[in-house]
Symmetry: D2
Subunit: 336 residues, 4 copies
């Protein structure tokens, strides 16, 4: 397998999906070993580093990439298998950004209330114990939480020549902020432009479902992933991002209001199930009603993201793309 | 412990929260052994029984109750501990109701599309294997799914003299349709009127998160529960329904759009956490951001319901009401 | 014509639609001369009277009524023609209620922000000039605005035994807060229960579209209206409140999110247009697209209300119920 | 005044805001005489031309432009005064696009319903009588409606390097689809990039509020406009598109759900009013509550657009930018 290593200089950070020339072209089947800075570009390093003093709109969520995939054409499916996510720093940061977050007025839910107070939390990483530590600002409470590394942002160039901020999740993937994007997961994305032009970023050392205050335990990440490609002639591309892990198949929908994000993920899952099981659409609707898990991803970004999951144990026969995921897991094992 | 047994005649079914005289008064501490009919009043018994022919608006989701709790006054907290939920029939039913469900136009999301086709699925219960069987209508597929009994509807009389359909979830509980309402859970509800005037119903033999098509595997249920009461002088009542099980504390918010249901559940959880842990509200917001689970309950009812959960393992010290839940678990064990 | 005069004592105020025994029964064709208190029960009388000190949940928006209409049965259409609305006091009041209003966090859009500051404005009425005067609290600005009396609340008892707060608008009418509810308008409401059981209240001396801060220029009102009834055998009842004035036909939809309120009003208008013009539904959809006016009513209540209007001048042939509105206008003229 | 005439070849059409090199640079104060094709690129010419056969995603809403404005820098305000809009064809077209429109399931409000039937309506223009004629497809009804020309789309390049489809309205303007964008109106837009890089398109011969079915009476348009520029040093740029006509000041907010579009327009108007009148923000909130008009613009595009208007007659003293609008009206008169 080709192995591509890349650690961007700050001047190489990408802040959009689309609109940026690829850093390099990679072959399907390549292994990428990447480093991603955190969503703040590493600028929040202590509890006294506040968002309004350090963050600049247009320079958030730096992406590592983009990469062009040789041979990828519109209609194909880009496959990204996350082999490993390892925190690249000994601390992560979370912060309250004025007029951003799920429980405050924002630029969209425009209100007359003052912004919430600004505050930054620093989480120490204990690699041996595999924890990050929450430390309350206004009391003595301190809690060790399990590390649960994930990528907030994985996406391709959008369709129809659009260029979207790396803060936005949509059909092209992007800033979905779902804990499902973790090591061991395979992500399927629609290819909209020649080369697919994908990037990754926004490492989270852990995150709850919904990412309530707007920022997870944000941290730089070492990322190992395998790139693959399914041609349109082999299988139709998904309309929305799909994920697969050893236990489940997963769809992420992103829109507003939140019910539309959920509807998108549900209808895409119904399409997936009808294909995998040979089911009629209303039968798939019925089956989904009784088996789907529906954890939220984010209720804070420019689009909200909702997840629909179906267990492979509960529903036998969910083996997308002739077992590509299992094959990728096999390839991943050979890397370590 | 007082034990109250009650199996309503159809003429005794309640179809609203509020507006119905209590069936009987019970003492705090009582055990209730109840039977609840399914959401369809048992009228859908074969795949040829369609919704439009058998269901009548105003006569859906029959409730067992209501019961008055002696001594309950506005400001108190009603405590209902679900000891046991056992399917009372050998089959459950799910159906597509015209203009109802999460993936179709409805009376609220009013569109010009025709309704989806009507169809009813019957699920056979296998008590020995503890399964219900999904059988596709348009292909040979059949899947045994684990029984996972829950109650769609648990609620009290609303505040300010309102009377709400048993199809509605809101601050008074009601038709929340969350899989969290299962045996082993303790439910905390605000008391709005003297006696609390609570009822239960809408047994589900299993349900996915979101209840996508609008109806779970609906089935009559034998319900055993313990009633208890926390006086206002001991602890403030929750603003929205709270649940507790051995592993988690849980809040259910209900509103539209779906993000507001989620916001409600998040803010109520923050209030809960600040009380339990002595946390400042912004610290609780931060902690919640990194630890909360946010599975959907329903995206089909007159209000949508979203759940926020926090693990007792992840966050030490979550012991509401001096361990009342553990005490109820103990009392429950003595019943079997 | 029968003339019924009624001015309720505070002890006779109704605070719900449904759940209250009728004050009296009236014949179709009767004229009612009523007095309605303001939404605050007259408790806010100076700029130092703040909401949190004077208002009590459950005792807002007092209704005058309810009245039973002899012969009204479910399926019929209640017709209320507003003959005259005259301010009954020399001042109106508007106030900021904590956690209520369109541009603040609320109990539903639950946020962590502090409430906005409380403030009350008093508007002097100048009957001779037909104005109310806005006086800024924090600067010298004072503006005379035209009186534009309307009723925020007109409704019947809800279907299926529900009882709803007088703060709620829905299919039964209620707290729609639309400036279309003014003298000269005829309101058509579905009858859900024998007698219809209607009430009116919540006089506004004027209001912008949306009722942004949550309270209009609230004022007690002298109301003259004619009650009439269309039997189910003559015409089908509307599903949602309809209005007619000399120039337009109007529908009010109420739900959340706001797009659903709008969709409801649009689909109901399409149904109305197909009936009045013999149009196919898609032709009506097309025509509506090019001619409808869509002013908002309220974006603050428990449901939001959106209006769809079509001009009788623009679209010839809009003559509902054989010209009943013109006939009521004629009858109204004979009263003055 | 410089006069720039431009009629694009189809190969020169722009389909995005941002991401396209300017056609030419113009001086502030210039007059532009432009021709814009219709939203369908002129491909729907008879009732048998259906959307799915003729329209291609990525090639809808062709823009005329973009134009760079000499000296425009981020922080400045671009001023576009619409002098004249004249239909450039003798017919307009409206159509039902599958899974697009306000009263059907869409790609965002993803449902399982089949799409509505496809249908196209052609409207004949009668210049002498200044009408367009609606002709029903399924009955004999035909109605002459007044011509009311407007532009669906006016916008600048978005901030932060984003490139957005010409189908999208947002803070940069774009596909707002408001009938307020008519001859005599002055539009104020924030400048996000050097040169502002603005374009116009999407002529409507008339449109109702909401643009219910998704397409107005779409028609090619001859557009005369004056370009002007207000430097940041003179006045702060608006956050969202503002309009002014002889009678009103107007703000357009665009987001989802619809209440957020409305909130945006309201908060931006409050900011405007506080500046113009020296009002405190809560006083402005109060005044707005009693005087604002809130007609919808579109409930069909990727963001919904809502309008807030305040009458200059009702509220004295609304004279933005030292009377620039009146000055532009004066300059416009000298052109004809």
């Amino acid at each position: 397998m080709d192995v591509v290593e890349f650690r961007p200089e700050p001047s190489q950070y990408a802040y959009t999906f689309g609109g940026v020339a690829p850093i390099r072209e990679v072959e399907p089947g390549s292994v990428l070993r990447l480093w991603c800075d955190d969503a703040f570009g590493g600028t929040l390093r202590s509890t006294s580093d506040l968002a309004s003093a350090h963050l600049r709109m247009g320079f958030l969520n730096p992406q590592t990439g983009p990469f062009a995939v040789r041979g990828a054409e519109p209609g194909d499916t880009l496959v990204l298998h996350l082999v490993d996510l390892t925190p690249a720093r000994d601390w992560g940061a979370s912060t309250l950004v004025p007029f951003f977050g799920g429980l405050t007025g924002t630029d969209r839910t425009a209100l007359l209330n003052d912004p919430l107070a600004e505050r930054t939390w620093i989480y120490e990483v204990d690699r041996a114990r595999s924890t990050v530590t929450f430390t309350a600002a206004r009391s003595d409470l301190s809690i060790d939480l399990p590390l649960a590394p994930m990528l907030g942002t994985v996406g391709v160039a959008p369709a129809y020549g659009e260029v979207r901020s790396s803060l936005t999740p949509d059909a092209f993937g992007g800033n979905m902020d779902t804990p499902e994007m973790r090591a061991g997961a395979t992500c399927y994305l629609p290819v909209n432009t020649p080369g697919a032009i994908f990037s990754v970023g926004d490492g989270h050392y852990r995150q709850g479902e919904g990412e309530s205050c707007g920022t997870a335990v944000e941290g730089a990440m070492d990322v190992t992933l395998i790139v693959d490609l399914v041609k349109a002639s082999q299988a139709p591309a998904p309309l929305w991002p799909r994920l697969e892990n050893d236990d489940e198949i997963v769809v992420v929908g992103s829109s507003r209001p939140l019910e539309d994000a959920w509807r998108i993920s549900q209808v895409e899952m119904i399409t997936w199930l009808t294909g995998l099981l040979g089911l009629d659409r209303l039968d798939a609707y019925q089956l989904l009603t009784q088996v789907s898990l529906a954890p939220l991803a984010n209720v804070v970004d420019t689009n909200y993201s909702a997840v629909t999951k179906v267990s492979k144990t509960l529903v036998p026969g969910l083996r997308p793309l002739d077992g590509l995921h299992a094959d990728l897991r096999e390839r991943a094992r050979s890397l370590t």
